[in-house]
Amino acid sequence: MHGATDRVGPVAISIGLLLGALPAMAHDVGSRIRATAGVPQIEGTAGGGFVPWAVLAGYGQKQEWGGEFSVMHARTGDFDLTIAAGSVAFNNRVEISAAAQLLDIDDLGLPDDNLSQMILGAKVRVAGDLIYGKLPQISGGVQYKRNMDFDVPALAGARDDDGFDFYVAATRLWLNGLHGYPVLANVTVRASRANQLGLLGFGGDQDDEWEPLFEGSVAVLLRRDLVLGYEYRQKPDNLGFADEDDWQDVFLAWFPNKYFTLTGAWADLGDVAGRNDQEGFYVSVESSF
């Protein structure tokens, strides 16, 4: 029951695999320790799958640069979401990212078959480090989102077709977290008016305020190349036509080396656009450089 964009996910994942198979073409991957680049986040920055972390994309340490390409495909009962993203980080200080999101709503019988948006992001490491020193790594970020299919969001009561998210994230990895199994914890606070990430526009008929949203992740390195994590992301609920629920996911990420990361996850998106209990999975592939 999926439309033409059904092919987008597999194609995007194939491209990602190809990118992953061509590691470090003209650039040595950075020096930071394996798995400290995190996994592709749904809005294009480094993080867990749903939550932006304080870590920066790629493995660049001070005096180095790096970044990553990623594709992600999520499928729930009624929706398909495909994301392509790229990011680059300099000096382990500043990260610039771009992402395109395409949500297949073919099954909903609305005027558009897809909702899509572009996201440009910037993140700055303000203090601390993921592993070293006394402070956790603390970063501040901004995301500019522009909805490209605003007819349906406007009908649903959204006020604007673009908007900003601002967030602060603190992330720490304790190497000897659980008897030698490193444990990561992340807390992110975000200010946002975005409905379903922005795919349903910004602000709404029911609520149009900026409000602090809390997001968190915990993860454990089961092996040097295997990370198991849980994430929770609070969401706004601005539109009267349908409830928007908080999101959560459990992910397993494989880091066979510093050039390639494969992530699979179970995701629970709750009610989305009037469709109840959207549970499913996502898969992402990432190539670091």
């Binding site: 001070k62 304790w174 000897n176 977290g177 809390f214 609070q234």
Partner: protein, 145 residues
């Protein structure tokens, strides 16, 4: 807002943070044994130093070292950190790295070579990370000296 489970989330995070902080202070010679004792430590230290000599970005830091002495000192340091029956009698970290101007990147490269060497000599994930947790606090006295 949607479902309000964030209280539970916050509590879980704090529980894990607290446990993590407590576990880093763990003592006893279990780690020394898990690293394979003096022999095990000597094996992976030797392998890591050998890898460093052929690494394009950090070989120059090891060029002028007396290899036997370096391996001995590093082995003693790790043995002592792991609460093994050794004393580290070498220079303090600041003195030992004085004038080398080691960067964050070079430090991380050597850390990964040590991790590779430990993995290749069959030391468990848990023991590798418990040792790494003890080495990480030394970084501030090693880099930029």
């Amino acid at each position: 807002m949607g479902r309000k489970n964030s209280g539970l989330l916050a509590a879980s995070l704090f529980a894990i943070l607290g446990y993590g902080a407590a576990a880093e202070g763990a003592k006893g010679d279990a780690l020394f044994r898990d690293l394979g004792g003096r022999e095990g430590i000597a094996r992976f230290v030797g392998a890591a130093v050998a890898s460093a000599h052929s690494h394009p970005r950090i070989a120059f830091l090891f060029e002028d070292a007396d290899d036997g002495n370096l391996k001995g000192q590093l082995g003693d340091l790790i043995c002592a950190l792991a609460a093994g029956p050794c004393n580290y009698e070498g220079l303090g970290m600041r003195e030992a790295h004085s004038g080398m101007e080691i960067t964050e990147a070079e430090f991380d490269i050597f850390v990964e070579l040590v991790l590779d060497a430990m993995e290749q000599s069959g030391i468990s994930h848990s023991a590798r990370n418990r040792l790494l947790a003890l080495l990480v606090p030394l970084r501030e006295d090693i880099i930029h000296q």
